[in-house]
């Protein structure tokens, strides 16, 4: 496998192009399921925000807008570097692509570190989901814990997706290190790229809905 330039086409496909198109369709379908998975949380958010607009407005002030903004920029940058990486491997420059993907991984780590700082702060203040909510400032509002339930569920599930994405990027990096990719075969790079953009996109919605209301 070390310096293989051509990747064997699986037995049930007629051509490499057919295999590539099938894989891409598969990943797009998978993204649809991801959107529906988050869709449930977005619906719950919409319903409760519609029912308790003042509470959500008040509670969102207790999220750190600066860190949230920085994280948004970090994730957008990671998407850019991922896109550049895919473009490079398409242009048959796998070494450059490797570097771009390393950069993407770096941004992902930054995102999680910042998220960790935010979470720790929330734990400290008692801004916790549901029954564990102890924050004195919002004690009078019985619905405030709901906002933080949604905050932790939505950002938590998103965080898990970031972790999975990092694992996938690491896997692609290992294969790229072995010299498996070229303009002739780069399916995994393309697929992981598509997935990573979705992870970014979900955050683009989460950020204003949670941090910037009111």
């Amino acid at each position: 496998m070390n310096h293989a330039v051509t990747h064997p086409v699986p037995h049930h496909f007629d051509s490499a192009e057919q295999a590539f198109q099938a894989s891409k369709l598969g990943v797009w379908l998978f993204l649809v399921t991801e959107i529906l998975l988050f869709g449930g949380l977005f619906v719950a958010y919409t319903i409760f925000r519609g029912l308790y607009p003042a509470t959500f407005h008040e509670a969102s002030h207790h999220l750190n807008k600066v860190l949230g903004s920085i994280n948004t920029v970090v994730l957008i940058c990671s998407s850019l570097s991922m896109a550049l990486g895919v473009d490079r491997v398409r242009q048959n420059d796998p070494n450059k692509a490797h570097q771009y993907m390393l950069l993407t991984l770096f941004f992902a780590v930054c995102f999680l570190i910042i998220k960790y700082v935010e979470y720790t702060h929330k734990f400290h203040e008692g801004l916790l989901p549901g029954a564990h909510f102890t924050f004195a400032g919002l004690k009078d509002d019985p619905k405030a814990p709901l906002f933080f339930s949604l905050y932790f569920m939505m950002t938590g599930l998103h965080g898990i997706h970031v972790l999975v994405g990092m694992g996938l990027i690491a896997w692609v990096l290992i294969r790229s290190n072995r010299g498996e990719f070229s303009s002739g075969y780069y399916t995994p790079v393309e697929l992981v790229g598509i997935y990573w953009h979705l992870v970014d996109l979900i955050w683009i919605y989460l950020f204003p809905l949670l941090y910037l209301i009111g």
Binding site: G26, T33, L37, P129, P145, S149
Partner: protein, 532 residues
């Protein structure tokens, strides 16, 4: 791989246990799914028999009320999540969908195997939780009771989450296979209707299952972290759970029935020796059912405090489902007209499907009508309706398919007389068990109750006796299916005279299905030119 030399069939080549558990052959994975889900059907069936046995007489018959609550939960959860959702798509669909479109395998064979193991893990988790700690919520896990009960809802819900993931991967695999792996000449309008039905099912699997994923995840979090989204005591909304749950679980009943309808569309033209009537109408009605399935979930909440406007809309939308469904039934019936009908076992099941599914479907309209539903909601009428659709529909379709494709899958023919007697037992037993329940429900007996007043005793007894006929029928079927394996006689490659691709290859098929990629030039049920 092995070139064009004569190779063994998929069952024996390659050999050995290890070659089975690591196989990426869609046919073997289909068989593994079939063995697993049929085992769950047996277990779920035993619990159904026990539940019916308890209801034989009023008051305590054989078990305590707590045990009864657990047993109907086991029956429901096992039958829904481990049998009827996966059985047709994952077992028969896996086996036949690629062959019917002239492909060597599904688009992602390794993912296919992974989805099997994911299913097994989820099922094992759920079954272990059910057996070790029990669950008494019914298969619907309604909050707030599911948050408070001290049974193992968390593990069962996680099991459902994991099995859902497997269902998603199967659906994703099938959609991609249908789009990317059809053989030359296999246009969409030349695909067998079973493929259309499984394709429509796959769309629902992909679009609806993630919602049950997030719902079960939230339910788990509700119990573990007390997040309160579904808990009124913490500011949440219990009816929201019902909305989430049915947003998946209503489309899910079409995941259960559509593939069954697909099998009926295969069996009827073959055993009536006629081209199917209204091919396009049947194909598109599958997609229409899939589409409408997403906008009717609210009919489960007519008495849960939904707004009157929502009730009205959901009631009307629910009735829309009847249109594509009736299109199918009329077209199947029209196919029979002036056909040369042969009442072999698969056809007996297909014709039973027409009767019993129609009863199930029409009583669904009763329940969709708002004022009638207020009276019938949560009574045995709903239980009877559901079982007429699921057992009278899906299971009849499954049994039709199982008998129809048995010689293709195993190269052996089952005993036709055994098949007919078993069919008669099942047909009589089924109608005894469930037709009585329409009356029980109409007379006001609520579902899931442990006890009932003496005026319901007669009908309950008939229902329970019917369940024994059903059991006898299935036992006989198990016996003649097992016996067929030991029969010396080989089944013919095309015993029924089918025109679809799976009948044009050897029984059982070889590892890669076709020696050469086939080229399709005509329609799948072209009996105008068949020579007999």
């Amino acid at each position: 791989m092995s070139g064009h030399t004569e190779v063994g069939n998929y069952l024996t080549h390659p050999k050995g246990f290890w070659s089975w558990v690591t196989t990426i052959d869609h046919k073997r994975i289909g068989i593994m799914y079939m063995a697993t889900t049929m085992t769950f059907f047996f277990i779920g069936g035993i619990f159904a028999l026990l539940v019916r046995l308890e209801l034989l007489t009023p008051g305590l018959t054989v078990m305590s009320a707590d045990t009864y609550n657990k047993f109907f939960t086991y029956h429901g959860a096992i039958m829904v999540f481990m049998f009827i959702i996966p059985i047709i798509p994952a077992a028969l669909g896996n086996f036949f969908l690629p062959i019917m479109i002239g492909a060597k395998d599904v688009a992602f064979p390794r993912l296919n195997l992974a989805s099997y193991y994911i299913f097994i893990s989820g099922a094992a988790l759920a079954v272990w939780a059910l057996m070790a700690h029990g669950a008494d919520t019914g298969w619907t896990f309604y909050t707030p009771y599911s948050i408070r009960t001290n049974t193992s809802v968390v593990l069962v819900a996680l099991g459902v989450f994991v099995m859902g993931f497997s269902s998603i991967l199967t659906g994703l695999n099938f959609i991609t296979t249908v789009h990317k792996l059809r053989c030359p000449g296999m246009t969409f309008y030349r695909m067998p209707l079973f493929v259309w039905a499984v394709y429509a099912t796959a769309i629902i699997q992909v679009l609806a299952t993630p919602v049950i994923g997030i719902t079960t995840l939230l339910l788990v979090m509700e119990r573990v972290l007390k997040i309160g989204i579904f808990d009124p005591a913490l500011g949440g909304d219990a009816v929201l759970f019902q909305h989430f749950f049915w947003f998946y679980s209503h489309p899910a009943v079409y995941i259960m029935i559509l593939p069954g309808m697909g099998i009926i569309s295969e069996v009827i033209p073959v055993f009536a020796r006629k081209h199917i009537f209204g091919y396009k109408a049947i194909a598109y009605s599958s997609l229409a059912i899939a589409g409408i399935s997403f906008i009717v979930w609210g009919h489960h909440m007519f008495v849960s405090g939904q707004s009157p406007l929502a009730n009205l809309l959901f009631s009307v939308l629910t009735m829309f489902v009847a249109i594509p469904t009736a299109i199918k039934v009329f077209n199947w019936t029209a196919t029979l007209y002036k056909g040369s009908i042969s009442l072999k076992t698969p056809m007996l099941y297909a014709v039973s499907f027409l009767f019993m599914f129609t009863i199930g479907g029409l009583t669904g309209l009763f329940l969709a009508a708002l004022s009638v539903d207020v009276h019938l909601h949560d009574t045995y009428f709903v239980v009877a309706h559901f079982h007429y659709v699921m057992m009278g529909g899906t299971v009849m379709g499954l049994l039709a398919g199982l008998h129809y494709w048995w010689p293709k899958m195993f190269g052996k023919m089952y005993n036709e007389w055994g098949g007919k007697i078993s069919w008669a037992l099942i047909f009589i037993g089924f109608n005894m068990t469930f037709f009585t329940q329409f009356f029980l429900g109409y007379l006001g007996m609520p579902r899931r109750y442990y006890d009932y007043p003496p005026q319901y005793a007669g009908l309950n007894m008939i229902s329970t006796i019917g369940s024994w006929f059903l059991f006898a029928g299935f036992l006989l079927m198990l016996i003649y299916f097992i016996r067929s394996f030991f029969s010396k006689e080989k089944a013919a490659d095309n015993p029924w005279g089918g025109k679809t691709l799976e009948w044009q290859i050897p029984s059982p098929p070889t590892e890669h299905n076709f020696h050469e990629t086939p080229t399709v030039t005509g329609k799948p049920y072209d009996y105008g030119v068949v020579k007999l």
